[in-house]
Structure formats: C-alpha cells, structure tokens
C-alpha cells in the first residue's frame, strides 16, 4: 500500500500519467532540439524560442478554424497540414530574424541574450495586437480524441501516441540531417571551428541563417503539438522556455541522446508527480532534483569523449 492506493493501482497510475506525459515530452524534445541546434551552431541563446513555438500554435489554431469553416471534408487530416505550415511560418520568421538582427550580434553573446529577450516581448505584443489577448484552443479531429485501452485502468491517448510518433520521426530526421548529410557536415564544421570552416570553403553565414531557421521551424512544430496540452495565448510560450533550458542544460548541450533522455526524465517526473501534488510543487521538486544532479555532474548527463 502506498498512500490510499494498492500496488496495482499505483503502477497503473504511474503508467497512465506516463502516457499522459508523452505530449509534454514531445514538446520538450522538439523545443530543446531547436534551442540546442541554435546554441551549438552560433552560441546564441534564443530567449524568443517560446514565441516561435507559439507562432506554430497559432498557425495550427487558424488551420483548424479554416478547415472546419471551409473544408470540413478534409478536417480529419488538417493537423498534418497545420504542422507543415507551422514549420514554414516559424522557419520563415527565424530566417528573417537572423537576417535582420542576430547576424549583427554574433560576436556579442550577452547582446544576443538581451536582443532575443526583447524580441520575445515584441512578438508577444504583436500576437496580442493581431490575434487578441484571449487564449484559444484547437478542435482536434475525431480520430485523435480517443484512447487505446491497455487494461481496465490504463488508457493511452491517441493524440499522445500520434505526437510521440511524429517527434520520433522529426528527431530521426534531424539526426540524419546533422550526421549523415553533406549539409549537416557543414553545420558541424562551423560549430567546431567557424574560421576554419570558412577556410575550407563553407559559406558560414548561409549555414548560420538556415540553421537558425531550422531551429525555429522545429519550435513551430512543437507549437503544433503544444495545442493539444495547453491553450494558445500571447504569453503561453514563456512558460516553456525555462523548462526547455532546463532540458538542454540537464542533457549536456552537445548531445542529441542527452537531450532526449533529459526531456523524458523531466517530462515524466513532472507529469507523474502532478497526479499526487500541485503542479507548482511538482515543478519545484523537479527543479531541485535537476539542480542536485547537475551539482554532481556539471557537464550534463551525456558528453562526448574526444581530445580537444
């Protein structure tokens, strides 16, 4: 017996909350991927990353509105289109921001921190003025609403599985792009030695711009996933940026595997504990644990073994 639950009930609760945490896990992984790519590539900490996510969420919302009003026949597949559009919108905004702002600040890390923070405020106000201060939510197509019953008590939400599957695909795609494609080789070369990358013939500024766009685009997809667990409002992105930083630092900034493991740990811990205590208490406990582990392993969970 644990509290008022039997062992059987307790494991079921753990499993259910675990599956319920899948979407949160996906949002974390996608957000952290984007943030880590941008940080690794150009040493820019993108404080506006949450707003790029929210842009994706708004795009998803407008897609759902549009399809239910004008193309109800295609409503069941709108989510795929919404995700693609969310990526494009955030990618495009990312390219624009890199071109208009970030590229002037590369050699000044503190300034990029301030500038992207300013950008996040600007974007929030922009969303408020254009989309309204009211929080909006999407309607999901019917097939995504159900749940799969594993046992009497354990249910797995279908949208969770869906988002999870999508996250796996995107993560694998990012892995392949970074480690198997010619373009990924250029990105890694720039990450390791920018000056030398230029001197072997790589157009480093172009690589920067596209990488920044890609990181933001992935945040846009995270925004699509986010619409399933939260309502979209101008400032909703802010709540996630801190968690995402936590994920990146905890995972060890240079490792894809570390990012995934750390997103999993943090999202699961939060989602499970939220069942037993208040959300903010769960957050405090997670934070304390992460800080504790980081004191023992300041380099994060995973690191690469190479001579520098």
């Amino acid at each position: 017996m644990i509290g008022d639950y039997t062992i059987g009930e307790f494991t079921s609760i753990l499993a259910m909350q675990g599956f319920a945490g899948l979407i949160l896990f996906s949002v974390f992984v996608l957000m952290a991927l984007g943030l880590a790519i941008i940080f690794g590539q150009m040493g820019v900490i993108n404080m506006a990353h949450g707003e790029f996510m929210i842009l994706g969420a708004y795009v998803t919302y407008f897609c759902s509105q549009f399809f239910s009003a004008y193309l109800p026949g295609l409503f069941s597949i709108y989510f795929f289109i919404a995700m693609a559009l969310a990526f494009c919108a955030s990618f495009g905004l990312g390219i624009l921001v890199e071109w208009g702002m970030i590229r002037f600040l590369y050699k000044r890390p503190l300034d990029t921190l301030l500038a992207t923070w300013g950008l996040s405020l600007i974007l929030q106000q922009f969303y408020r003025s254009v989309f309204g201060a009211r929080e909006v939510g999407v309607t999901l197509p019917e097939w995504m609403l159900g749940a799969v019953n594993l046992t009497d008590i354990i249910e797995i939400p279908i949208n969770g599985l869906f988002v999870m599957g999508l996250t796996i695909i995107i993560t694998v795609a990012v892995y392949l792009i970074m480690f198997r494609s010619g373009w990924g080789k250029q990105v890694r070369a720039v990450m390791q030695n920018r000056v030398m990358a230029g001197a072997v013939g790589i157009n480093t500024k172009m690589v920067d711009r596209i990488t920044f766009g890609l990181g933001c685009g992935i945040a846009g997809i995270a925004g699509s996933a986010f619409t399933m667990i939260g309502s979209t409002g101008p400032t909703a992105g802010q709540l996630y940026i801190v968690d995402t930083f936590l994920v990146v630092v905890f995972g060890g900034a240079a490792s894809l595997l570390g990012t995934i493991a750390s997103a999993f740990t943090i999202s699961q811990a939060q989602s499970t504990m939220e069942f037993f205590m208040s959300g903010s208490m769960a957050k405090v406990l997670t934070l304390l644990t992460v800080v504790g582990i980081l004191m023992l392993r300041p380099q994060g969970l995973f690191t690469l073994n190479i001579r520098r």
Binding site: V200, G201, I202
Partner: protein
C-alpha cells in the same frame, strides 16, 4: 598564379604587414622564412580573408580576390593549412576531408588523396581529434587538397614534428606539386626543410621582405643569420 601587390595588414592601429609584394608562378614552391612574430601567420590569414586587408591587391590566376570572404577565396583556388592544423576534432577523418568538397560539389573524396596519405585511409573512421600531431598535419593537407586548389598555403607545417617526418613531408609536398601542378606557399622557420623543397626563399622580418633568393646558389649562412635570434 598568385600575385600579391602592396599588401598591408593591421590589427587595429598596429600595422603588422607593410606593403608586401610577391608572385608565385605555376608549379613553384616558395618558402617564406622568418622568426617568431615576424608576420607569417598574419600574411597567410589575410590571404585567406580571415584577417582584413588594409591595402593592396591579391590575384589568384586571373581573378582578383580583394574583399572576398574565405569561402569565396577557396572557390577561386586558394587552400589553407593553418598553423596548429585546426582539424575538426569530433568529426571523423573521412568527414574532415569531405568538408573540403563543399566548394567543388564533389560527392566523394578523390582517391589520389588517400594514395598520398595511406594512413588516413586506414584511420578514416577515427575522430580527427584522436590522431597524433603528424597524422593531423596530413589530414589538414588532405582536407585542403580536397578543394582542388590552384595555390596551397601552408603555415609552419613542420611545427612540432620530428626531423625524419619533416623530410618525408618535404617529399610529399614536392610530389603533390608535381602530380597536381599547383603552386605552394609555405611559411617556415626550419631552413633544411625549406631547402629540401622550395624553389625560392623569401625572408620576412617585421612584416617586410629583407632577402630573396632562388634555391640554387642560396647563401645559407646569410639566411640562417636572419633566422637566429
């Protein structure tokens, strides 16, 4: 093949290279000799567009490369092996060489590069950072050759490498020149190495050339005098 005219380079207020002019013919190996801090690296970096040029013109073949970014200079035929090698440590040997393919658009590493450096083929899946210093030097040269250059710039390739391997490197560089017909500019402090391979020797002192001589009939004592403190 390479024509440098009146090149002046400065870090902020302090001018380090003063009105340098020199030419390198096709198939020629030129050694630029000078003690520590005389401006060899600065000269190389400015040719690669890493350090901005204050004045002067540089031509590769027929093309003027003034004001270009590094990657554009590479497309125009310059390749660079920096002092300290600067390979990409966490990429494999093969990937390191492949970064040089960006400007040519080739998909695979030309086989003759592995012929020149068989050890790199053996180690192609190792991380670059885990190679020995001498192997990293070969890797840096291979990476530069992958860009199919017209002019190869090498900055103190012998630094930290034992004498027997230095001899071998001189042979390899001569072989590269003969097989690929490119021009080589190498900065050096080791006179024997320069005499092993160079067709012409220039001595740089505080950013200006103070002596020039073809290898035949070079006054070794005089050059050695410039190099000793």
């Amino acid at each position: 093949m390479l024509a440098v005219d009146n090149l002046t380079v400065a870090y902020g207020e302090s001018e380090v290279i003063h009105n340098l002019s020199f030419e390198v013919k096709p198939n020629e190996i030129v050694a630029i000799m000078g003690r520590n801090g005389m401006g060899k690296t600065t000269l190389m970096k400015s040719l690669m567009g890493i350090v901005p040029t204050r004045e002067g013109h540089v031509q590769v073949g027929e093309a003027s490369i003034d004001g270009m970014e590094s990657y554009q200079r590479v497309s125009n035929g310059l390749a660079y092996v920096p002092q300290g090698r600067m390979i990409f440590p966490s990429m494999t040997v093969k990937e390191n060489i492949e970064t040089g393919l960006t400007s040519t658009g080739d998909k695979t590493v030309p086989g003759d590069i592995y012929e020149l450096f068989p050890v790199l083929l053996e180690m192609k899946d190792r991380r670059g950072g885990n190679l020995s210093g001498g192997q990293q030097q070969q890797l840096a040269i291979a990476r530069a050759l992958a860009t199919k250059p017209k002019v190869l710039l090498l900055d103190e390739p012998t630094e930290g490498i034992q004498p027997s391997i230095i001899k071998e490197m001189a042979r390899t560089l001569c072989r590269i020149r003969d097989e690929k017909g490119l021009s080589i500019v190498v900065s050096e402090q080791v006179l024997s190495f320069a005499l092993d391979m160079a067709d012409r020797v220039l001595v740089i002192e505080k950013g200006s050339f103070v002596h020039e001589s073809p290898r035949e009939g070079i006054d070794e004592k005089k050059v050695a005098g410039f190099l000793s403190v």
